[in-house]
């Protein structure tokens, strides 16, 4: 018996399969946890990219903890859902891509949290490029995970969707770099102008 076969025979898996409420409860918790984790972390990413500028970065640090609560909810509900089909999921491209994306995305949010904890006064005017890049990549990775996660229920469409998401992501990344360079250039010019004036 393989590990995944064993998983499918655990008490939890049996309960998920045979109880009336098990599956609907877990699938609902999984949607709520997704909204919390991805919702909050994407908004924090957008702040790093210069949206909501009137909110000081320091004041937003405390929100990471709620995002992690969302991830805990989804780890618990996700494991419960996974036990039902652990054997099939090993062969499911959407599932494997989604789960990889979740690990990478969670790691990126942890990196972002650490970076924000070390933010210095200079961030008030301009967030370092490497932090902005982490923010862009985090949004892309969450998007890929969400797309792949939904497509677990639609086998055979994952690569078409990934091609579209990939193309949009590359465009977004290039667009970000171009816009960022422009904005940073303008900012430096204004700074220089105000310095020469005084």
């Amino acid at each position: 018996m393989s590990f995944f076969e064993w998983v499918q025979q655990t008490t939890l898996a049996e309960w998920m399969r045979f109880s009336i409420n098990g599956y609907p409860t877990m699938i609902t918790l999984h949607a709520i946890g997704l909204a919390v984790m991805v919702g909050i972390s994407v908004l924090l990413c957008l702040r790093m990219l210069g949206v909501f500028k009137r909110l000081p970065i320091d004041s937003l640090r405390g929100f990471f903890r709620y995002a992690w609560i969302g991830l805990v909810v989804n780890t618990i509900s996700g494991v419960a859902l996974w036990t039902m089909q652990a054997v099939d999921y090993v062969h499911s491209w959407p599932f494997m891509i989604k789960i990889t994306g979740v690990f990478v995305g969670a790691g990126l949010v942890a990196v972002l949290q650490r970076q924000m904890a070390n933010a210095d006064a200079g961030w008030r005017h301009s967030v370092p490029l490497r932090v902005k890049l982490i923010a862009v990549v985090t949004i892309i990775v969450w998007t890929i995970s969400m797309v792949a996660g939904r497509l677990i229920a639609y086998p055979g469409m994952i690569f078409e969707f990934l091609a579209v998401v990939g193309a949009v992501s590359v465009l977004a990344l290039v667009g970000f770099l171009v816009v960022n360079r422009r904005l940073e250039g303008n900012r430096r010019l204004t700074e220089l102008a105000s310095r020469t004036e005084s």
Partner: protein, 161 residues
Amino acid sequence: MNVVWNWMESTWLNSFVLDHSWVWPTLEILHFSGMCLLFGSILIMDLRLLGFQRLVTSDAVHQFVPVAILGFAINLATGLLFFFGNPFRYAINISFQIKIVLVLLAGINALIYNYKIEPIMNAAGPHGDYPHLAKAVGFASIVLWTGVIAFGRLIPYLGTG
């Protein structure tokens, strides 16, 4: 109402949603994305309203309102397309009906936030604590929108359809 549902089924939107295999999953993905934007932003605003994260200033937290509206707009559009695709299935579904009632209540709650609570917040100062009324509105918002997600997700499992 059957006349309306029948009309919806006869529109080109209905065939567009049903005839292409990629449309339904695309709408679902967009619906989840809108949910993240909407719920993420109301959560940040409501937690502040409840008195958590007081470092966030009263005036600046309103900046998340447009994101919430954007998320809602995405979900209204994709939600309507789901409905056009399968009007009878949703119309008679108890979970869907509860969800829509909760959305309407959450909308009224948002109007109260906009007209009654925002002035109170601004008067409380940037890092101030808010009165019970404001906290009640924040709490109601979290509960209602969580309910919207839950009953939305439960549509296939509750009642008919």
